[in-house]
């Protein structure tokens, strides 16, 4: 019988130690920038998503640890708000307005066209990883719909033909 080698079993995995470095630094820098605000969780999640384009669920333990919250609290907030993404989006996110004012000028037909053109449903990403299609409920451009927001750029009066031009650019 060979001698038993001593094994070190960590009491607890250090939160975030398994995160890829870019994600880890995105979280730590967000906490550095916004962690001291009163009610810091939304600003922190925004800062992470601004940096990465999404909030990886595997980052939740580190966010919770840094802000002295439970993982459940962070997960609860992350999953409550439509804007926060828990999956990696395509290179561009196309937000298509589905609200009443845009419906009144053909948003329904545009929605059907966009899904066909990109070959995805809402929340889906095109096969080439270029576009993610998301619904949005009002962009405040209600006098000049149908409205589409691509990344941070707003477009008015988007017909199916104009949509094709926008995604071809």
């Amino acid at each position: 019988m060979s001698a038993r080698r001593p094994v070190t079993v960590p009491l607890r995995v250090e939160p975030g130690s398994d995160l890829p470095p870019p994600e880890r630094s995105a979280v730590l820098e967000a906490v550095q920038a916004c962690g001291n605000l009163p009610g810091p969780l939304l600003p922190v999640l925004h800062a992470i998503q601004d940096r990465l384009g999404w909030v990886p669920p595997r980052a939740v333990p580190l966010i919770a640890f840094e802000l002295n919250l439970s993982r459940a609290e962070v997960h609860g907030v992350l999953s409550f708000y439509h804007y926060f993404r828990e999956s990696k989006p395509g290179r561009h996110v196309v937000y298509l307005c589905r609200a009443e004012a845009c419906q009144a000028v053909g948003a329904g037909a545009l929605e059907a066209h966009a899904k066909r053109r990109l070959g995805v449903d809402f929340h889906g990403t095109t096969a080439d990883g270029r576009y993610t299609l998301e619904p949005v409920y009002c962009l405040g451009n209600c006098a000049c719909g149908p409205s589409v927001l691509i990344d941070k750029e707003l477009h008015a009066g988007v017909t199916p033909a104009r949509f094709d031009e926008l995604v071809a650019e």
Binding site: P38, G39, P40, L41, L42, P43, L45, H46, E73, G76, V77, F80, Y81, H82, Y83, F84, Y95, A99, E100, A101, C102, Q103, A104, V105, V136, Y137, C138, L139, G140, N141, C142, A143, C144, G145, S147, L149, K152, L154, H155, A156, G157
Partner: protein, 519 residues
């Protein structure tokens, strides 16, 4: 002397190509060796003319619109810098009937000034309200706001002065001023227009509120769908802070007030004030029980004034010109003005600020010019996604909170969405439930689950599956939502549903032939 040219940086103007127009104007001027100054103003709200380019000529500003980048060279050729004739010429901007016929009290500077310039703001009456407020005590400011008759412009129309008095009279070491800029109602954009076109007006209104109730900290809870408003607010905050209008000693008064912008994250429910407070505290935006009222225990358990953008932005003029001057406009218990937003299928969409009392028809026809498609207007929805769908027979209702309520409607935040005769009202009713299901915070069962059941019932009704029973079930479900929900989302979703059913029952009936064919 160089000429001043105005090209809006408003989000709608940008969406219609204003950035390319501004670039083309600068490039064309350089090519022709002309000196000119391009000011990026907000929008005046005549969106059907955007991008609306204005040129300062003598005392008047001459307008051209809608201008595309391709029109710029021909504008120069026509001598637009001297107000020359051009097919896009609209004449003196103030004389455009759409603008001339409005009564601009709250939105008077939108589109006129450079929103980033404190000097421009002050040259147009900015901070006169704060100066007046600094000469009063808190109770005096609250009295002025109460006497003006100003009611919450976010939709609930609660008297602003009474809310402020509650906060003033609640003793606490820390109080807060919170601006609800989560303008989520479809068909509304007045908050956005003001924040992009005159952000200092909102900041001034919140500062006055802080002085009135003894709050030193403020938050603007802005929806993240408004990136341009975000940038405009942050620039204005920096300007106000640099000039000493925010900080430890507001305008040298020795009294502190400062504020910051916080971004929402796409949850419609956070436009409800208690959800908004939860969200500001970094939590899920779930509705709170009332009482306690936010005025007594609001943000971080402290007394908090929560008002809409337009409410705060109406305060400076009340203080500057006196309560009576504001109260003298309007009708019944609706005093002052309301910035109405004409949206959807409308020919001349945009912002129309007018005194309460104007009939809905005047807005739709005289200002709006009927539908954009040229087809008959079949329905309008006033007051956002929770507002009633109305047929033409109700278009003579005057703009007045009580008159709208009496007709089974809701004025809300003043958004008017127009639909032509191609609209399927059963589909609109179904959408109201679908939206409620998507945006419910989940606290109340009737809203969380009833909304999904509502979609199913309407689907069966439209399919002609035992319609009489479905309709009874639908009404029963709506009754449960109305009486079993804490907030307006669950409580008012029945409004669009039942108003569509009442006024447009023919859309809910499947044609007999289709039932027989089994399709």
């Amino acid at each position: 002397m160089s000429t001043t040219v105005y090209v809006p940086r408003d989000a709608t103007a940008l969406a219609l190509g204003a950035e390319a127009v501004a670039t083309a104007i600068a490039a064309e001027a350089a090519r022709r060796s002309l000196e000119l100054r391009v000011v990026r103003n907000g929008s005046r709200g005549a969106f059907w003319l955007e991008p609306l380019v204005e040129v300062q000529t003598g005392n008047a500003r001459v307008a051209y619109g809608p201008v595309r980048a391709g029109d710029v060279a021909s504008l120069f050729d026509s001598g637009f810098l001297e107000g020359g004739k051009h097919r896009l010429g609209q004449g003196a901007v103030e004389a455009i009937p759409y603008l001339h016929k409005q009564l601009r009290l709250t939105m008077g500077r939108c589109g006129v000034i450079d929103p980033q310039s404190l000097a421009d703001y002050q040259a147009h009456g900015g901070y006169a309200g704060l100066q007046a407020a600094l000469a009063m005590d808190g109770a005096g400011i609250v009295k002025a706001v109460t006497d003006s008759g100003l009611r919450g412009r976010g939709g609930a129309a609660f008297p602003t002065g009474i809310k402020w008095r509650t906060v003033l009279e609640t003793a606490a070491p820390q109080k807060y001023i919170v601006c609800n800029a989560d303008e989520g109602d479809s068909g509304t954009f007045s908050d956005r227009l003001l924040m992009e076109g005159d952000p200092l007006c909102l900041i001034e209104g919140m500062t006055i509120a802080g002085l009135a109730v003894g709050a030193t900290r403020g938050y603007i809870y802005l929806r993240c769908e408004y990136p341009h408003a975000h940038a405009a607010l942050n620039a204005a905050l920096a300007a106000a802070r640099a000039a000493g209008f925010l900080g430890q000693s507001v305008a040298g008064s020795g009294r502190a007030f400062d504020l910051e912008v916080r971004l929402g994250a796409g949850a419609y429910i956070c436009g409800e004030e208690t959800s908004l407070l939860e969200s500001l505290e970094g939590k899920r935006g779930q509705v709170r029980f009332k009482p306690p009222l936010p005025a007594i225990r609001g943000l971080f358990d402290s007394p908090t004034v929560v008002n809409n953008v337009i409410t705060f932005a109406s305060v400076p003029i009340v203080l500057a010109r006196g309560a009576a001057c504001y109260r003298d406009f309007g009708t019944g218990r609706s005093r002052g003005t309301l910035p109405v937003q004409l949206a959807g299928n409308i020919r001349r969409g945009g912002l129309v600020e007018c005194a309460f009392g104007v009939p809905l028809r005047t807005l739709l026809e005289e200002f709006g010019g009927g539908s954009r498609t040229g087809r008959p207007v079949r329905a309008v929805q006033v007051g956002g996604p929770l507002g009633s769908y109305w047929p033409a027979s109700k278009f003579d209702t005057p703009l007045d909170y009580e008159a709208f309520a009496q007709q089974g409607g809701m004025l809300g935040h003043g958004g008017i969405v127009v639909f032509d005769d191609t609209v399927d009202m059963a589909a609109q009713a179904r959408y109201a439930f679908e939206f409620c299901a998507l945006e419910s915070c989940g606290k109340c069962t009737p809203c969380r689950i009833g909304s999904t059941r509502g979609v199913e019932v309407i689907d069966r009704l439209r399919a002609g599956d035992r319609p009489a029973q479905q309709e009874a079930l639908l009404r029963d479900l709506c009754n449960t939502l109305t009486h079993g929900s804490l907030c307006a989302l669950g409580g008012l979703t029945p409004l669009p549903v039942l108003s569509a059913l009442e006024h447009f029952p023919e859309d809910f009936v499947k044609p007999k032939a289709a039932v027989a064919a089994g399709s």
